[in-house]
Symmetry: C2
Subunit: 233 residues, 2 copies
């Protein structure tokens, strides 16, 4: 009998934000896989580390990401084969994912390759969007407002149009797009309503008003939150 593929959301960074279900599956699955950069440590593994039993079979999914280009298909083909070999042996595999697996997660590339061949289940996790709003200490969206999640790499005109159209906006993966995002937010007169959050819920968390952000360089895991006033009472 084949094993089950689990996509396990481990949340935004604080190990205490794992769900009970994530902890259980990480404990139970004989094989743990997780994404990592080409060299260096895996953030997803670091978040889950307190719960990974010693001696587990671990698969490091190394996905080189060069200047905003996404990994080539053959990278995921390779790791899907490795995971597939475990599943065929009847072993359950937990693939750890930062945040939530199906909201901008790279787990989808594993899932798309394997979910038609093996039983598969996704365990939702705390996404960085709610975590950033919590860190900023301000509700992001309420009642019948429209929330748009915008990746910062979008072209400037697209960013602008979509910020205009929404009531609440989370701009993700700011990183090297900071200047562009600032320009757009400024042009729309929204800088006073914008908050900057990096590494939400981690030890390195930083929160400030966008107007007070003084570093010209910010990390990939950074977000700018904007909330417009409610128009209806």
């Amino acid at each position: 009998m084949n094993g089950t593929l689990y996509g396990v959301g481990v949340g935004p960074g604080d190990p205490e934000l794992l769900t009970l279900k994530a902890v259980r599956l990480i404990n139970e699955c004989p094989v743990i896989a997780y994404p990592a950069p080409d060299t260096g440590d895996s953030l997803a593994r670091a978040i889950a580390a307190p719960h990974i039993p010693k001696g587990r079979h671990e698969i490091v999914i190394r996905t080189p990401m060069i200047a905003g280009n996404f990994p080539a298909n053959d990278v995921y083909d390779h790791y899907a084969d490795k995971i597939s070999a475990c599943l065929k042996q009847g072993k359950n595999v937990a693939v750890l994912c930062e945040g939530d697996p199906f909201l901008f997660g790279s787990f989808m590339y594993v899932y798309e390759r394997l979910s038609n061949k093996f039983p598969a289940q996704v365990i939702p996790g705390v996404s960085s969007i709610g975590a950033c709003a919590a860190a900023a200490g301000a509700p992001l969206v309420s009642r019948n407002q429209v929330l748009s999640i915008l990746p910062a790499p979008l072209p400037e005109a697209d960013l602008k149009a979509r910020i205009i159209d929404a009531d609440a906006i989370a701009i993700m993966k700011v990183g090297r797009h900071l200047d562009k995002v600032r320009r757009v937010v400024d042009a729309l007169g929204l800088t006073a309503r914008a908050q900057y959050v990096e590494h939400a819920t981690m030890d390195t968390q930083k929160v400030c008003a966008l107007s007070e952000l003084d570093s010209p360089k910010v990390p990939y895991f950074s977000m700018i939150l904007i909330r417009k006033p409610e128009t209806t009472p």
Copy 2:
């Protein structure tokens, strides 16, 4: 010394989707508050029930919601006063919130009234958006796509314009707006790409293609997910 106000996200419905931090705070706080309809049980309390110690002081925040109208301000003033009295006695209060407290949660009304007077902290939770995508078994959004979260009560023309502008769409709180949402999705030729999810992660969970949804009435906690094809490779 004043107590601390905690807004605790309890996730979409499965009690196993509480975070470790939520469980700890629910265990530690001497006062537990939660929203409930005018009559009947609290969903947030039901989700957290396995973790609420016996004999806790519980505050039921009864918020009448009549046909889409949000509760009046004085309802929240009243409960903020009750919570405030506990905080002044130095007791920590955990306010339970379905999903994530700062993403469309009613906790913001408590927070806005008390966070300037007492220490306050928000514990993000698993939102229904990731939970619905997991239930539907399909990634909702990837790479540099735009995700828009649209409340179904929006006017028909607004819904339409915002669905056109996004790559991935979650339409929340479908409930009595089903006919309108269907009309819009159909007019845009997106019905074949739309999935319907109700009560994600609960025992009563239901998932189907929107085209196969045969019930004319759906509950408030229902969502329609749409994902357009990726345009960039």
